[in-house]
């Protein structure tokens, strides 16, 4: 065997090995030597490893021991006493007996060699040739305990302590702990000891789990925080952490609160069903006004001033008519025509004129904020001046007009609002007027037409606008958001046109998912590499994916059906 690297600690094991290796096996039985040689090789292969890795865990040794025990058992059972020489016996001991035995190392080891020795002695008597060997072997065995002491003090200690404790009848579990001081070996041994035992948590009652510290929620602080956050309206729209929170439908109700006075007047205005349409848009638009009254005010300061002068003077029809005239001039002829028509149907002449302006105002869009700002101003200032119930109308019309109203007609101040009022009422349908008030919300007279177009439309668009701000990852101006909504509007236009064309091309009147797929293919989103299903999987949540991609279910059914 290779020279065992002389470790600092010559253990009895190593000594024995050396002896076994160096000494000639003087057995007359040559054939058995092969067996011994095999065993020797077996011994040799683990031995260098053991020598080199003595500091490593003894698990390997354990395993070797286990393996070798098996072999040994086999050998012992198969091998007759005759075959076994003291050398082989000792080798077996080395193989099987670990450096530190499990329970009773000494008792195991010592009796083991003892009977072996006894047997060997018996054999010795039978085989005289072994006599020589025995004395060789015996001294090492006798030397071993002596050598053990200086060499492997730790192990020796362990064994001795172990034995003492075993004698004392202590639990095995305590021993490794008592023995384990510093060496990794001991710790590793402790591990092997500890594994079959109870977990540490049970053994150490001192390691108590801390009771979960729970802080009681301070409701007062919490509410105050809520209030604080409410009070701060961000001027710049920052990106959302979540792309889709609830769509901002509640903007209208919030505006209601901001203008309680107009609402009162509106309540009177049950007959003004048309106002409902503009109403809804009004509050929605007025949402912007508090945010940007300044801007628009500055922009339309001149016009506002002009009317402001007229306003405080009289609330009579005189300035109204003047305003109407101005409006007419500004608006155009079409408005006049409409105005005439409207005027006939409406009882109030003033309102009729106002409606004219309204209708005209409706067509050009875009300066809603300006008008809104004016209107809001007008509303607040006019309320006390409005003698008639039309004041309520005025407010609502003012608001409703805001979306349709054009900034080009900024003259629509309080007085004008009266007229503007009528216009939405007239436009949708006079017949609807009567039925309208019975509809859902009394303070909001409803119109079928433009209102759903404006408010929910904007709400839906804002849904996507929020998504935009999420993906932008940068702060955005509010104007930019409106621009985004306009872009989305255009996008939807294009989309619908394309879908119409595709459906017509297929001779259908219903737009099917195939048309959608064709559209996406033309847009370059769906390619030969990327199919529609892949996109659906990537971007849509599971619920929608289930609806779109046919999937087979039990009972020979596919959903959605193809």
């Amino acid at each position: 065997m290779a020279d065992p690297c002389p470790d600092s600690e010559p253990t009895p094991r190593t000594l024995l090995r050396r002896l076994l290796d160096t000494a000639d096996p003087r057995t007359p039985r040559r054939p058995h030597r092969t067996g011994a040689g095999a065993q020797k090789t077996l011994l040799e292969t683990p031995s260098p490893r053991r020598l080199r890795s003595q500091t490593k865990t003894t698990t390997r040794q354990w395993s070797y021991g286990a393996k070798s025990i098996g072999r040994l058992a086999h050998v012992q059972t198969s091998g007759h006493l005759e075959k076994q020489t003291p050398r082989t016996l000792l080798k077996n001991i080395l193989l099987t007996a670990p450096e530190s035995s499990i329970l009773m190392p000494e008792s195991v080891v010592r009796p083991a060699p003892a009977p072996q020795v006894v047997q060997s002695s018996r054999r010795k008597s039978s085989q005289g040739s072994l006599e020589l060997q025995l004395p060789e072997l015996e001294p090492p065995t006798t030397l071993a305990p002596g050598l053990l002491a200086p060499g492997r003090k730790k192990q020796r200690l362990r064994l001795s302590v172990f034995q003492q404790e075993v004698d004392q009848g202590l639990l095995v579990s305590h021993e490794p702990r008592g023995n384990a001081d510093a060496s990794s070996l001991t710790s590793s041994l402790n591990l092997t000891f500890a594994t079959p035992l109870q977990p540490q948590s049970v053994r150490r009652p001192g390691l108590a789990r801390k009771p979960p510290t729970r802080r009681t929620v301070d409701v007062g602080v919490f509410l105050q925080d809520l209030r604080d956050t409410d009070l701060a309206p961000p001027n710049i729209v920052l990106e959302d952490t979540q792309p889709f929170s609830q769509p901002l439908v509640g903007c209208s109700p919030s505006v209601h609160h901001s203008l309680p006075c107009p609402s009162q007047t509106e309540a009177e205005d049950a007959r003004r069903t048309a106002c409902h349409r503009t109403w809804s848009s009004g509050p929605g638009l007025q949402n912007n006004s508090p945010g940007k009254p300044g801007q628009f005010l500055t922009g339309t300061a001149e016009e506002v001033d002009a009317f402001a002068l007229g306003f405080p003077t009289t609330s009579s029809s005189v300035p109204v008519e003047d305003g109407v005239q101005i409006l007419q001039d500004g608006v155009g002829e079409e408005a006049e025509n409409r105005i005439e028509d409207d005027a006939l149907s409406v009882s109030d002449v003033k309102e009729a004129t106002g409606v004219q302006e309204h209708t005209r105002a409706e067509e050009p869009e875009g300066h809603t904020e300006v008008t809104e700002a004016e209107r809001s101003e007008a509303d607040l200032s006019v309320e006390d001046e409005e003698p008639e119930g039309s004041s309520g109308i005025k407010d609502t019309s003012g608001r409703t007009a805001s979306p349709e109203l054009t900034s080009s007609i900024p003259e629509f101040l309080q007085t004008k609002q009266l007229h503007q009022f009528l216009e939405p009422a007239l436009l949708p349908s006079a017949t609807v007027l009567s039925s309208e008030p019975q509809l859902a919300k009394p303070p909001r007279p409803r119109t079928t037409g433009p209102r759903p177009r404006q408010d929910p439309y904007k709400a839906g668009l804002s849904h996507y606008a929020k998504l935009f701000s999420f993906y932008a990852k940068m702060p955005m101006e509010k104007k930019a958001l409106e621009m985004v909504e306009k872009c989305l509007d255009k996008y939807f236009q294009h989309l619908c046109d394309d879908l119409e064309v595709f459906a017509a091309h297929a001779g259908r009147k219903t737009v099917k998912p195939e048309d959608l797929e064709l559209l996406m293919r033309r847009q370059g989103l769906v390619t030969n590499q990327v199919s529609l299903h892949v996109l659906v999987e990537r971007h849509l949540p599971l619920e929608y994916r289930q609806l779109l991609i046919p999937c087979a279910f039990s009972g020979n059914s596919v959903f959605p059906a193809q």
């Binding site: 935009f468 621009m483 459906a503 219903t510 959605p560």
Partner: protein, 88 residues
Amino acid sequence: MAFLTTVPQRKRVKWKAPRSFLKRVFKRRKPHLRLEKSGDLLVHLNCLLFVPGLAEESRTNTCENKCGIINKEHILTAAKAILKKSRG
């Protein structure tokens, strides 16, 4: 029952598609056309693919101008390019 009415452990869809809104928009523009059942979901998918493209483009424009805030103009220029691209 062929399909699962509810997804287990999940009763709320995080990002809902405004289905009624999309249907209404389509109806309003093309009243003579009909949109099929899951068609609006695909329209929503289309929007979900369109909006980040627009956002990315506008972000690029903003960064080019070395602004910290996205402006109208940035979005306008971005929209021109993207709408043209997604014309189909």
